[in-house]
Each structure stands twice: as structure tokens, then as C-alpha cells.
């Protein structure tokens, strides 16, 4: 890295207005401004409150099952013949993905703010399941907004949410995927703002969400950093994580940002290929704009209309990305690359067969890139890949794509 790498430069983001350089901010209707201010002041107070931190840490330890292991994928590394690959096993968390770290944190905020009702948007269903789970545990009413297309392709998670007592609301507007679910969640929030807490699932949305979701997810990187030092005696040479909205990636990356020697790769969904236009890779092929409360890189047409995205994985099928990623791209601290649908599917099978670990299709994008990267490195070097979620939810999708009846 360059002389840019001043630890405070990363720790002090965002600024008081919620901006990461030119990105972020609070682009919402006036009705929500008071609720965002209330959330921000409550969060700032509680994040310095030892009792709140203790509650959060205890939930992570005893309910989520943290710390998650850092597992060395030896057979896979040997076969590639390059760097040692370590997997940060977020798939072993309760509910099967990193999403729960954030929902535990936000549900505690909801509890402290006295909100009896929570809402969430979901794409792959992992955040919806994590929200429904924590709502069940705390006795909160829970409504999950999900694009009608995603309801179809993630039917197992839909049923899981219903079993947990949540109401799943299919959204048919627009492209009927994650972005439309988020629109509908915002509409619900503006209508029920007095008694409702909106649990945003990723590091996007209006300030303070990108900040607080990041803070809750940073447990991933803090653990990985300590585990890597303990297991290898040094920091990793590279980090790899998939990026849809970007919460698992920022959670892994952020505690390493000031470590200049650590390279970072965020892997977006290349869909049918960046050159086809059918993808979900705003950092690789989009431009800055304003959507869902923040300024960030977006997939948009020449008139500033948001365009339809494509990815085999519902969780990455989103035209925007968290504003901190946009900033990290512009300053050159993180490299953003893409893996296509077929590369992700191949990585899904590879890890399943060679390590006995079935990754989520979202995660498989990171694995596909890690495989290429490892091959360019030496066995003295190491890579940490965020294994952000498990693949059980995707079994039917994979079978369907391969023409197999289950």
C-alpha cells in the first residue's frame, strides 16, 4: 500500500454526516430523518456502553456460537499448489451465515429502543431467516420483504421464516428481487415508523446503517486476524470475500485495513459475464449514483434509472453496494473483481467434494476468485476467504441448473 495507509484514516469513517469520502449520506424522505437521528444517537450511546457490549458479546458466544473457526483447507490448497487457503467459517454460525452477527446487534438495539415490531428485506433469505430467528427469541413481531422471484428460488428459506413465526411478504414490483424488497421495506418503515425497527441486512442504506452493520460484522475480521496470527504466526497476505451489499466483506476487511501488507479482494457477481451486461457488479462495471438512502456505485442506465441485475445467487443480485466499498475502491485499498455464474458453480462443487464443506452460492464467488489468486502465490503465503454462508439453501437451485430432479 501507499502512504495512504494511516490507521485513523480508516477508523474515523464515516464522518459526522455519514459520508465515506463522497459516498454514503442520508438520502431518504423527511419522514424517516427523525427515526435515523434517534437510531444514530441510541447507537452511539450504546456502542460505548459496557453493558450493551457485554450483552452483544454473550449473544455472539452462546447463541451464535462464536468464535467461528479459521479452518485451513489443506487438500484444496495442495491441489492448487499455491498459497495456503484458510476459510473463516461463518457458515457454522447459528442460522448458517454471517448475517446473524448483525441481526443480533440490531435486535438488541430494537429492544433498547422499545420497538415491538421488526422488519427486514432479504434476497437469498439468509438475512430474513436471521431476523426471524432473533425476533422469535426476543418475542418481536417480524415481517420480511422478499422479491417474488427470490421467494421462488429460495423456497426453503421462506418456509424456515414461516416456521419461525415471521410473515413473509412477496414483492412483485419492479424486478421482484432484493432491491424491490428493500423499496417495500422502506415503505413499510415510513408507514410504521413509531413502533417499527428496520433491520437492514447489509452495509448499505442511509447513515447510520452502513456504519453500525459494519461494526457488528467486524467481529469476523477481529477473530480472523487473531486466529491467523495464532495459527500461522503472521498476518495473511490476502483476504477474499464476496460482495453483494458487502457486509461479510467489510466485516472481514475492516479490522485489517491499516495492515498495509494485507491485500484485499472483493468479488462481485459477474453473472453471465461483465461483457454481457447481465451481472450484478456495480463496482466492476457501474457508476456512482443515489439509491436506497446512500450515494454509491450503482448499476444504472444513461438516464439514471436502476437497471435489472443478474446473478445465480439471490444474495448478490443487487444493483448497489455499501458506500464504504465505493470509497475503498476509489482510494485503491481494496481490489474489486468479479466471478461469473459458472465459475461460482464450479467452486461450489469443488469445495463440497474436496473439503466436505458446501458453501452458499454467494460465497462460491469468493472461492472461485481465491482459487485463481492462490495459484499465483507461493506456499509460504496465505489467503483468508470468508466462508460467509453454507449452501444447503442452494441445493434446489443447483439441481435445477443442472437439470436434476430432487
Amino acid at each position: 500500500m501507499t502512504s495512504d495507509a494511516n490507521p485513523l484514516r480508516y477508523a474515523n469513517q464515516p464522518d459526522g454526516e455519514g459520508r465515506f469520502g463522497p459516498y454514503g449520506g442520508k438520502f431518504v424522505a423527511e419522514t424517516l430523518m427523525a427515526a435515523l437521528a434517534e437510531l444514530e444517537s441510541m447507537y452511539r450511546r450504546l456502542s460505548e456502553d459496557a453493558e450493551f457490549q457485554r450483552e452483544f458479546d454473550e449473544d455472539l458466544a452462546h447463541y451464535v456460537g462464536r468464535p467461528s473457526p479459521l479452518y485451513e483447507a489443506r487438500r484444496w490448497s495442495d491441489e492448487i499448489g499455491g498459497a495456503r487457503i484458510f476459510l473463516k467459517r461463518e457458515d457454522l454460525n447459528h442460522t448458517g451465515a454471517h448475517k446473524v452477527n448483525n441481526t443480533v446487534g440490531q435486535a438488541l438495539l430494537a429492544k433498547h429502543m422499545g420497538k415491538p415490531r421488526v422488519i427486514a428485506e432479504t434476497g437469498a433469505g439468509q438475512h430474513g431467516v436471521a431476523s426471524a430467528t432473533i425476533a422469535a427469541r426476543l418475542g418481536l413481531e417480524c415481517h420480511v420483504f422478499m422479491g417474488a422471484e427470490d421467494v421462488q428460488r429460495q423456497s426453503l428459506n421462506v418456509y424456515r421464516m414461516k416456521l419461525l413465526g415471521a410473515t413473509v411478504v412477496p414483492v412483485t414490483a419492479g424486478s421482484a428481487t432484493l432491491k424491490d424488497a428493500m423499496n417495500e421495506a422502506m415503505r413499510d418503515w415510513v408507514t410504521n415508523v413509531d413502533d417499527t425497527f428496520y433491520i437492514i441486512g447489509t452495509v448499505a442504506g442511509p447513515h447510520p446503517y452502513p456504519m453500525l452493520v459494519r461494526d457488528f460484522q467486524c467481529v469476523i475480521g477481529r477473530e480472523a486476524r487473531a486466529q491467523c496470527l495464532a495459527q500461522t504466526g503472521k498476518l495473511p497476505d490476502a483476504l477474499v470475500a464476496c460482495v453483494g451489499g458487502g457486509s461479510n466483506a467489510i466485516g472481514l476487511f475492516h479490522p485489517f485495513l491499516a495492515d498495509e501488507s494485507v491485500a484485499m479482494y472483493g468479488v462481485e457477481a459477474g453473472g453471465h459475464g461483465i461483457e454481457t451486461g447481465q451481472h450484478a457488479a456495480p463496482l466492476s462495471a457501474g457508476s456512482p449514483g443515489i439509491l436506497h438512502g446512500n450515494r454509491t456505485y450503482l448499476m444504472q442506465d444513461e438516464d439514471g434509472q436502476i437497471i435489472h441485475t443478474h446473478s445465480v445467487s439471490a444474495g448478490l443480485d443487487y444493483p448497489g453496494v455499501g458506500p464504504e466499498h465505493s470509497w475503498l475502491k476509489d482510494i485503491g485499498r481494496v481490489d474489486y473483481v468479479a466471478a461469473n455464474d459458472d465459475e461460482a458453480l464450479a467452486a461450489f462443487h469443488k469445495l463440497t467434494r474436496i473439503e466436505g464443506i458446501m458453501p452458499a452460492l454467494e460465497t462460491a464467488h469468493a472461492l472461485a476468485y481465491a482459487e485463481k489468486l492462490a495459484a499465483t502465490m507461493t506456499p509460504e503465503q496465505s489467503i483468508v476467504v470468508n466462508l460467509s454462508g453454507r449452501g444447503d439453501k442452494d441445493i434446489l437451485t443447483v439441481a435445477r441448473l443442472e437439470g436434476i430432479e430432487v
Binding site: 423527511e30 427515526a35 415508523v193 438512502g293 450503482l298
Partner: protein, 276 residues
């Protein structure tokens, strides 16, 4: 004086209230908008609020969402909306036109270019739903440069302590959102509207207009007791869509628009004479 300030001055002199219809540009028929604006003026509109279609209209209820979707499917974009206003201005130079939409199409065009082209087309004001005063500095500088008004929302959730920050940036009029929710939502709370409008007046001398949740003549008349103007959106968009869906032609849609506005106008003006 801006065209909007002029309208409110004239209304005040005659003790009348502003009637502000909202339509989505290019809806329900792509090339009907200029004639529709004229029909609304014939029905008594004082200011026209023209919705700029956006792919993700987060503050709209289902009725106006569908209006945006219909217009987008027919290729209506910000550039086309500006052209529509330019054509309207060739036959009408007195009725202010306010563009209401979302930040991204304007940001993508570029604030400077938008300000230049919109003012040249004859647009009087901009209301970007998702740009609160915290984020408005760059665009406001450009609007001021070309003499366009920037219309801000104040909501039922806006604390009194925040109002000065909003009114300091606002010009033209203040748009009070009568309910917590999206456009076209449930019934507004008249008492709350009355109190909040009075509170807003303690912070600004700008006219205060009220929108979201006004369904018909009687509800418009009730709101107009406290406000300087009323905005009628979803009810109008729905009416025009219904006429078209029932097979109504261009003439039928235009007549329906004039008729609905005439009715609202009569109720709002009737309220005036009742009160006097």
C-alpha cells in the same frame, strides 16, 4: 418574483387556496401529458406537479408506483419530461410547473446541466423526495443560480427543532406530508395537520401546502382550512388510469382530469366562502 411566489400572491389577494394536481409524466398515455396539463389548468389547477418516472420510487404507494412503471415502460425519462414542459410553456406561460422525483436521475444528468436545461424548458421548481436539507447544498447552489425554487417536505415526524434547518433551504412553498406513509395511503388526521401546519408557520413565512392522503373534494376542503394549498396525486393518477383501462380515449382522459379538478376546485373555493 418567481412564478410560484406570484401565484401565491395573487391567491392571497383574492383569499383563495392553491390547488396542485400531481400526474406522472407520460402516464397514462405517453404523449398526452402536455394536453393533460392544460386540461388540469382548465379545471382550476394553480400549479402543476409533474412526477419524473423512476425505477425505484420508494415513497410512492401502489397507485403512483404503477404510474411510474407505465411511463418507464413507454420510455419516458427525465430528458423527455423537460421536453414536455418546454412544449407546455409554448401555450402556457403563467402556470408554475414543479418537477417531483428522486435524486438519481437528476444527479446522473448532473446538477449544473439539469438546472440549465430545466430552467430553459420553463420548469419553476424541483422537489426531490430523497434529498433532505443535509444533502442539498450542491443542487441548491445550481437551482439558485438559475432562479428555480427548491420545495422541501416537512413530515408529521419532523421535530420543531429541525424546521429551521429545512425552511432555511426552502423557497416557493413548504410541502407538508399529511401522514406517516407513502403517497395515497390511509386517512389523514385533520387535527394533527392543523397543529403541524401552525407549527411550520412559526418557522417560515413561505406558503404551506399539504399533500399525501387527500382523496376528494371534501378532504381537500378540510385541509385547505389550514393550508395555503392542497396537492392531489394518487386519486387523480388512479382516476386517469381507470378511464384508460375502461377503454376511454384521449378525450375521455382529458375530460376526466378537468372534471376531477373542477370538483376539487369547487370544494376548496366553497370552503373559502363558507368560512367567510
Amino acid at each position: 418574483m418567481s412564478r410560484i411566489a406570484g401565484v401565491f400572491q395573487t391567491l392571497e389577494a383574492t383569499s383563495r387556496k392553491a390547488v396542485i394536481p400531481y400526474i406522472v409524466a407520460g402516464d397514462p398515455i405517453v404523449d398526452i401529458t402536455v394536453d393533460l396539463m392544460t386540461a388540469l389548468v382548465e379545471g382550476g389547477a394553480d400549479i402543476i406537479e409533474l412526477g419524473v418516472p423512476f425505477s425505484d420510487p420508494m415513497s410512492e404507494g401502489p397507485v403512483i408506483q404503477r404510474g411510474h412503471e407505465r411511463a418507464l415502460e413507454r420510455g419516458v425519462r427525465l430528458r423527455g419530461v423537460l421536453e414536455t414542459v418546454r412544449q407546455f410553456r409554448q401555450e402556457n406561460t403563467h402556470t408554475p410547473v414543479l418537477l417531483m422525483g428522486y435524486a438519481n436521475p437528476v444527479e446522473h444528468m448532473g446538477y449544473q446541466r439539469f438546472a440549465d436545461e430545466a430552467s430553459a424548458a420553463g420548469v419553476d421548481a424541483l422537489l426531490t423526495v430523497d434529498v433532505p436539507p443535509e444533502e442539498v447544498d450542491d443542487i441548491n447552489a445550481e437551482l439558485k443560480r438559475v432562479g428555480m425554487d427548491n420545495i422541501f417536505l416537512i413530515a408529521p415526524t419532523t421535530p420543531s427543532s429541525r424546521m429551521d434547518r429545512i425552511t432555511a433551504q426552502a423557497s416557493g412553498f413548504i410541502y407538508y406530508v399529511s401522514l406517516k406513509g407513502v403517497t395515497g395511503a390511509g386517512n389523514l388526521d385533520q387535527q394533527a395537520v392543523s397543529e403541524q401546519v401552525a407549527e411550520i408557520r412559526r418557522h417560515t413565512s413561505l406558503p404551506v401546502c399539504v399533500g399525501f392522503g387527500i382523496k376528494d373534494g371534501p378532504s381537500a376542503a378540510r385541509v385547505a382550512r389550514d393550508a395555503d394549498g392542497v396537492v392531489i396525486g394518487s386519486a387523480l393518477v388512479q382516476r386517469l388510469a381507470d378511464v384508460q383501462a375502461a377503454g376511454g380515449d384521449r378525450v375521455a382522459i382529458l375530460s376526466a382530469a378537468t372534471a376531477l379538478l373542477t370538483d376539487i376546485r369547487a370544494h376548496v373555493d366553497g370552503m373559502q366562502s363558507d368560512a367567510a
